[in-house]
Amino acid sequence: MAEKRYKKLKTAVELQRLMQWHYASARYLRLGRPLAWVTSGAPVEILRAMGIAVLYPENYAALCAARQPAPTLCQVAEARGYSQDLCSYARTDLGSAFDPAYAPMQGLPKPDLLIACNNICGTVVKWYEAMAGYYNVPLFVLDTPFIHDQVQESMLSYVAAQLEELVRFVERATGHRLDMARLSEAVRVANETTALWGEIRALCKSRPSPLNAPDLFVNMAPIVVLRGSHSALRFYRNLKAEVEERVRRGVGAIPEEKYRLLWDNIAIWHHLYRFYNYFADCDACFVVDTYTGGWSQTLPEGEPLSGIAAAYATVFLNSSLQYRVECMVRLIQEYGVDGFVMHCNRSCKPYSLGQYAMRRAVMERTGVPGLLIESDMCDARSYAEEPIRTRIQAFMESLAARA
């Protein structure tokens, strides 16, 4: 019932078809292409240019959470000795590999090679090592040094040198060679797509905002898993046209927008509509977030590999808390935000560590109040309905008292 209150986008049908095609083609329509499993921050443009099919276990884990079996899959992994403190994306994926009977689509098709980039977290390194052992396939780890203050030239050349190694690794593992013309084309298409995604997000500066957090979370899937493909480009052109139409007609994502909020951290996939509807019930719309913006950064012009190195080494989660505070402050100002909500995500340590300090810093800088909600992106066992509802209600009452 809650979902019905939600204004569905016309492009939702197209999105669903696109994602179904993505997963089905990786299993049934590979046409001899090798299959790589990669992390969300891996330089996929290189793989596209080398004719490698790509799947994202993180996206698949989110899908498992949205369709509910994630906690069961987590328990499968826990029964094999993986700690409940381990990231729930990792546990869900490992569980789906160990026991595909419980997994949507019977799990992901077996990979031929694995590529993990630690720009999003350190967990991916051990997680992918475990999978490499389980499937007995080669693994490449791309190491991006954490940016404590400024990006150093040495960091970028270090990452660029590894990208050349990555190319040789893929060549060795698959026999496919890198075609520079195809790489430039993949970068061009990826850039055009990420620019569109950035423009769609920026349209939410309008009042009322044409999109709410669940819209952003659901519609980010192609920018992650199909970045650099023509099908994703077509989808975002259509989505942008629809969002522009909402803005032109003054149509908001929720029936009445009184409060504009910012979201920090990964979505609560298992309670997506139910959770955000608690805010919608209080006329509050999430107009911007720190998560889906991670895929709106275009690759710099020039020599492709060094451009790719610069973009992937400098993602949001690979940067200091100070940088992230600056980002939040800027977004709060640009989007006219009245309050912010941080998801203290039990799974995602790099995203959640330091949130108390960040919350205080952002509140001091902007005067805008912030709420911390404890949950987990995939593992619904960490979601406590009543305490969460109480915190949201108290927060919204205090926002109303300010108005």
Partner: protein, 269 residues
Amino acid sequence: MTSTSQAGTSGPCFLGIDIGSLTVKSVLLDSQEHLLGRGVAPAGYGGQEAAAELVAQVLREAHAGDSVAYAVVTGYGRVLFRTADEEMSEISCHARGAFHLCPKVRTVIDIGGQDSKAIRLDANGRVVDFAMNDKCAAGTGRFLEVMAAALGLPVAEFGRLALQSQHPVSISSTCTVFAESEAISHMARGVAKQDVAAGLHRAIASRVLGLAARVGLEPEVMLTGGVALNRGLVLALEGLSGQRVTVADDPQVVGALGAALYALHKGRR
């Protein structure tokens, strides 16, 4: 609290109900914010029935009949209690109640059965910031109940005993279940009961102060909720924070008082 009116209940009155996990509380006010009645009862199963009975009792004792103009309900049972006109969060209600009792209050610490909360107020009594305990019963009323039971004491006795300790033991775990095991192992080693009791009070106080630090412990600090009646805990809080902690008059009903004040404000409009 505003003095109890003897004048009776000719005009409209305003009801606040707080349905907690352990107890239900109710406060009845007249349109001048005078207290007409109050009551506390065990919540029983779900609290709904107990709340209905308590409200009937408070109205009966105040001879208020059916003159309730507006009712606000708060606490965990609030969502299902249909008799009320409106539901509000405990944060807003405790803040409102505490500020009404003492306008100098800037930090409210409420230790309830399931939740502990720290609330920062501005000079107008508005909620500027708040923090609640994470998914864990440490630092709540339930923790004290479980620990008192582990020591084989009634809750009231538990706090008094802690005051007699000269050498409080250190309880390192903040988990209720693990802390209980820790306390039992201290007792098994022959540590005096009062020292274990005092150690447990310090553990809960340090947990609650950690929470309060998130919003800043600005004076004046007021403690509300049933746990405020535990003198051992109040002294542990003062000792660890180095700050004076005021205990609200009739601390258990501060949330219900706040709800009644909201009812008055909303019902008048």
